[in-house]
């Protein structure tokens, strides 16, 4: 299976170098369209999406991550680095199951 990357210019360029196709997006409707395009091809096993773009379509992404589980979705930092104030995986899980893990 293949990777598919949804990101800004730099991510597309960088992943293009290692043989990963993708779609460059800059706003919410483009992000939505690109995400659906990525999902429509069953050959896409892993969708790589930058945090900033994932935030534009947060409910959609969350739906796929938590309930569908295929394809695998990974959020990566973009060239400006990791987003501030983004909840880590531990917080996400704590919120989801409503109990505190130390």
């Amino acid at each position: 299976m293949k990777y598919f990357v949804i990101g800004d210019e730099d991510t597309i360029l960088g992943f293009g170098m290692v043989g990963v196709k993708g779609r460059q997006v800059s706003n919410e409707s483009e992000a939505d369209a690109a995400f659906k395009e990525a999902l429509s091809d069953r050959e896409n096993g892993i969708i790589i999406i930058t945090e900033r773009i994932a935030d534009m379509i947060r409910p959609l992404v969350e739906h796929y991550i938590f309930t569908i589980g295929f394809p695998l979705i990974v959020e990566i930092p973009d060239r400006l680095g990791k987003m501030q104030g983004k909840p880590g995986i531990r917080e996400l899980v704590n919120n989801a199951i409503g109990i505190k893990l130390q």
Partner: protein, 201 residues
């Protein structure tokens, strides 16, 4: 609950109570196993996430340098010549009945398919860094998806455990108590009635 207080109902309710308690113990154990599993994975996930951050910081900065030194169009063109990466494959395995993906080892070494002409070390570094990022991404995707799926399952199990613990088991216990006391009461009634009859004769 609207159940007539008879002996057979008492037996049935007691059976249901035992069954509910058994289910409670089982689910509780399942929940504990899942939580232990998820905690382990969360630590792994954080480790991979941290290394992804550093790898990406390096990847973006070398990409930027490459863009500056040999031109963004040329870097883009190089991308077209590289065969599409379709090296991932994964199987589903089951953790306490939850299907989680497990990615097969992927080949980290993609040969650069550009020549020495008009390229430089910055480009090589960017290439290497993105390659490393890609394999980390595969690993992270496996861990994260597993964590999310397990967390959904934990939530479900949690609800069931609570429903049994806080609602069903107390309900059955109250019912057993009610039927028992009612039957005792009728027994005492009968006993007394017998005595009265005996005395009158």
């Amino acid at each position: 609950m609207n159940i007539s207080p008879t002996k057979s109902n008492l037996l049935a309710t007691k059976r249901a109570l035992v069954f509910a308690e058994e289910g409670y113990t089982l689910l509780n154990r399942k929940r504990n196993v899942l939580i232990r599993e998820i905690m382990q994975l969360i630590d792994d996930a954080r480790e991979v996430q941290e290394s992804i951050e550093t790898v990406f910081a390096r990847a973006y900065s070398s990409l930027q340098k490459a863009n500056l030194s040999i031109g963004i169009e040329y870097v883009e063109e190089l991308g077209f010549s590289i065969p599409e990466n379709d090296s991932i494959s994964y199987r589903l395995r089951s953790v306490m009945g939850v299907e989680v993906p497990s990615i097969e080892e992927i080949d980290e070494n993609i040969e650069p398919s550009y020549g020495f002409f008009r390229t430089n070390t910055n480009l090589d570094q960017a290439f290497k860094a993105f390659q490393k990022a890609l394999s980390l991404i595969a690993r992270l995707s496996e861990i994260e998806t597993t964590v999310y799926k397990l967390s959904v399952e934990i939530k479900k199990t949690q609800r069931r455990v609570h429903a049994l613990e806080k609602v069903l088991i107390p309900q059955y216990k109250a019912l057993v108590k009610f039927i028992e006391s009612y039957i005792e009461e009728t027994e005492r009634d009968d006993f007394f009635r017998m005595k009265m009859l005996k005395a009158r004769r």
